[in-house]
Amino acid sequence: MREEKRTNAGKTGQETLSLLFWKRFQKNKLGLLGAFIVLSLFVVAVFAPWIAPYDPGQIRIKRVLEEPGAEHLFGTDPLGRDVFSRMIWGSRISLLVGFVAVGIATAIGIFLGALAGYYGRWIDSLIMRFVDIMLCFPTFFLILAVIALLEPSIWNIMIVIGVTNWMGVARLVRAEFLSQKERDYTVAERALGAKDFRIIFRHILPNAMAPVLVSATLGIAGAILTESALSFLGIGVQPPTPSWGNILTAGKDNIDIAWWLSFYPGMAILVTVMGYNLLGEAIRDSIDPRLK
């Protein structure tokens, strides 16, 4: 029996769609730039212990607040630690928070969105009301409040960012499910007696993944921004663990004498977030069926 899924059918069916995506993606120069940035950051984060010239935690009182120079590419911070090395290690935090937070948000969003879209009626109304309520809170307020009540540890940050950002994914997934529910292949599967769980997870869900991927990529950018804002305010990653945000805290406190503490970490955040944004937008453009 012919099924309409993109993850099965004949081999030719699958290759055509993925190939189409790749071809369009390759033509998108900005998207390639974004992919390059994202990959480079991965490499830096993974190989941090080998790339960083100094130990990021090593305090050298004689070298406090040095300007950027040959010995310290990005200068030193108020405790004499090398900013460049701290930034390299900080990339690990940013990526970790980005991926885990978005992972949590996407998981919650897929789960609730699938439930709402597939079962409809009162479950749908209930879940959508919940989404509306969550959307009423200024997200940042909620995150701050929760982290104030618990301790500012990196795990709490990831969970909280995840728990406050699932709403967009839920809406996307729900929309996909609503449209796929009445398609022939779904009806046929139900007629054959397939269990709901199987239909949802093995069949409809893979088809809904494309916009979710876009949302996740853009979400990572947002999570990195949020984490750096929280660390900047002192409620995120705590020193001595280096994070781009908490280097900026030192930048604010020494704003008149150490411009490098403010400039470089922010630039890193800017470039990283831009990379993920470009990548996400490029994926979205490459998938968009309207442009065919």
Binding site: A145, V146, L150, L270
Partner: protein
Amino acid sequence: MGFYLIKRLLLMIPLFIGITIISFGVIHLAPGSPIDMATDLNPKATAEVKERMRAFYGLDKPLHVQYRNWMSRLVTLDFGNSFSPDGRKVSDKILERLPITIFLNVASLAIILLAAIPLGVLSAAYQHTLFDKVTTVLVFIGFAVPHFWLALLLMILFGVQLGWLPISGLKSLNYEYLPFATQVWDRISHLILPIFISASGGLAGLSRYMRSNMLEVIRQDYITTARSKGLSSRTVIFKHALRNALLPVITILGLSIPGLIGGSVIFETIFAIPGMGQLFYASVMARDYPTIMGILVIGAVLTLVGNLVADLSYALADPRIRQT
């Protein structure tokens, strides 16, 4: 129209209840109770004293009873007393800071509107030109830039190195001694950086949205008709296309209100502006739970109200909506 209004107001009630339930749940996340916080460091606090305090605050009652008590106080705007050393009523503290925050956010919204709409429209009208490309790049950067960093950079540039603009507070220390004209400039100059930073976030989003909306509208048939009627390009764009493209903008503005309110925490703290956001940050650092909860609820209610206003404006602008 009145019917629509009533319907929207009725829909707001379950939302409000949901907001209070979640806020109530959030505060009970705290490990340990407020009693422990107040008595931990006091060696004289025996177990009996703690029990009495617990009964006094109603913390020994079951959760739903506590919720009901909290709600009944909430609707009379009684948020309790602050845990911070001055122990004043939370509602007083919030009320004296609310106007500043609202003023800043409204000013930002105004700037966003005034700047983003022309930018978006012009980008769409002159698509693919240098202007469009430059604007697109700037918008992308605007999406990616961390706003607190932008604030720091601008503070360094304009405040420290050039010395043009002050970098903290709402007025200078010698405000009282300045002549009137200088006083006026003093007030304005203190507000320039904060409002600009606050607006820059929404600006990028709205102008991009405006642009894509205008592009869609321009491709519509009725625009081609207007052009073929011989109307000047200017009339076509500003009189016909713009009106229709403008409609969803109202909704977008409504949706960006929570972002603005949340963002005010950061830049009020950076610029030392005594607004609600700064109070929230200080309360968070001091674990002042009643104030935290009060501001959380108020922030959510403000968002609700903002969305309501956006919906009503949309209904006013687009008669089709009123039919439902």
